[in-house]
């Protein structure tokens, strides 16, 4: 078996157009959710069982006193050793052998949601209040099986999202981080050895999202 697939989410290239967020909804046939204006472009305010991907907007003052505005296209990291699978009773959460995608099957309704959520350092799984099934990003396993790339990656107009074989992706991550370090000394990849969806940030990860880094 190969090392499976991987995705890069390079925050330095993201313009927060939210095409990925919409493409995810569109492909997965997920409905719009009722939201409120919270004073930010981040909408819906958080992930839900109907929203597998959210572009998070974070603003504040940087060390040099200048304002920053960071975009973080949050999604399941598809860990190599998924913490959520600790909550498995049988095989309700499975890992696709070919791609490495972590799948919450409909049988997850038998699992304890809080145990599964506690196993996830990135705060990803969400529960459908009616069916009690756990829902999250599938890495578009159905598309990958059909030789298509995930919907979010396909729609990304800036190249912030990149999809490919894990070995190649790891090389690109190294190159990008090395290049970013010239201008942004804090640039780094988040947990590249543990996850399949590797985020590249140019500043302190906490400034992007509380659960950005494990």
């Amino acid at each position: 078996m190969s090392e499976g697939k991987s995705i890069i989410m390079d925050t330095s290239r993201c313009t927060a157009c939210r095409g990925c967020q919409i493409a995810c909804k569109q492909w997965n046939g997920l409905p719009g959710t009722k939201t409120k204006q919270t004073g930010t472009y981040q909408n819906p305010p958080d992930m839900s069982y109907q929203t597998f991907k959210v572009v998070r907007f974070a603003e504040g003052k940087a060390d040099n006193g200048k304002p920053y505005w960071y975009f973080f296209s949050d999604m399941c990291r598809h860990c190599l050793n998924p913490g959520c699978m600790e909550g498995n009773k049988k095989n309700e959460i499975i890992q696709d052998p070919a791609t490495g995608a972590v799948i919450h099957t409909p049988a997850t309704k038998k699992l304890d949601y809080n145990t599964v959520l506690a196993g996830c350092p990135y705060d990803i799984p969400r529960q459908d209040p009616k069916t009690k099934e756990l829902k999250k990003c599938t890495m578009c396993l159905d598309r990958m099986r059909d030789n298509k790339i995930p919907a979010c990656v396909k729609t990304c107009p800036t190249g912030a999202l990149v999809f490919g074989e894990r070995e190649e992706i790891l090389k690109i991550v190294e190159e990008r981080v090395a290049k970013l370090k010239q201008t942004h000394p804090k640039a780094k990849a988040l947990n590249p050895d543990d996850v399949r969806v590797i985020f590249i940030v140019t500043d302190d990860p906490d400034r992007y999202h509380k659960f950005a880094e494990a």
Binding site: N91, I94, T105, N147
Partner: protein
């Protein structure tokens, strides 16, 4: 794309073997089958008839691939066209949501909805009513506000109280027709929406 059946593809990528291994491990078959049911969209898109078109939201006109179900002839998926020179498969949030404009969107508006000034409710109206009302209001405003001369007494023949915002998807000839009509009303506030 090579001509490879789903079964061959799955076997080649180890999916079939993986699936068998999982079922022998005691994965509830119901769950796996239920998940396979969710895969039907990818299958349907694969078998669908594909049409090319362009996004209608802004003047960039990104290329689209529209998948129409082989049996029902309904649009089942729209995504970026990787062979289109402008977007190379990519779409922004608006383009990515364009499936919502297709006829099988249950929330699609099919009738004119009208909200009267200060009202909090939408009323359903006919197209005839809507067009007549728009025409009547334009005439009333024009009759009231049309200026033949400005404050200095110079001839201007203009109407400043109506503005027009055009579409970024209009071609040259349509733009000419619309501007000719607007100028004949005396409009000077004419803009378009090519920026987005």
């Amino acid at each position: 794309m090579s001509k490879i059946t789903r079964r061959e593809f799955m076997a080649a990528t180890g999916m079939l073997a993986g699936g068998l291994a999982l079922s022998s491990l005691g994965v509830p078959l119901g769950a796996v089958q239920a998940y396979a049911g969710e895969l039907s969209k990818a299958e349907r898109v694969k078998m669908a008839q594909t049409f090319i078109s362009t996004c209608d939201f802004c003047s960039v006109s990104c290329g689209l691939l529209i998948s129409s179900d082989a049996k029902t002839k309904k649009v089942i998926n729209i995504e970026g066209d990787p062979e289109h020179p402008i977007n190379e498969g990519a779409l922004c949030a608006k383009g990515a949501s364009i499936f919502q404009e297709s006829t099988n969107n249950p929330d699609r508006l099919k009738k004119v909805l009208y909200r009267a000034p200060y009202s909090t409710k939408w009323e359903t109206k006919t197209w005839d009513w809507a067009l007549d009302t728009i025409a009547k209001r334009i005439k009333a405003v024009r009759d009231k506000d049309f200026m033949t001369t400005n404050a200095k007494g110079q001839v201007v023949n203009r109407l400043e109280s109506i503005a027009h915002i055009g579409s970024s998807k209009m071609d040259n000839e349509e733009c000419w027709l619309v501007s000719a009509m607007l100028r004949s009303l005396g409009l000077v506030n004419i803009d378009h929406q090519a920026r987005v």
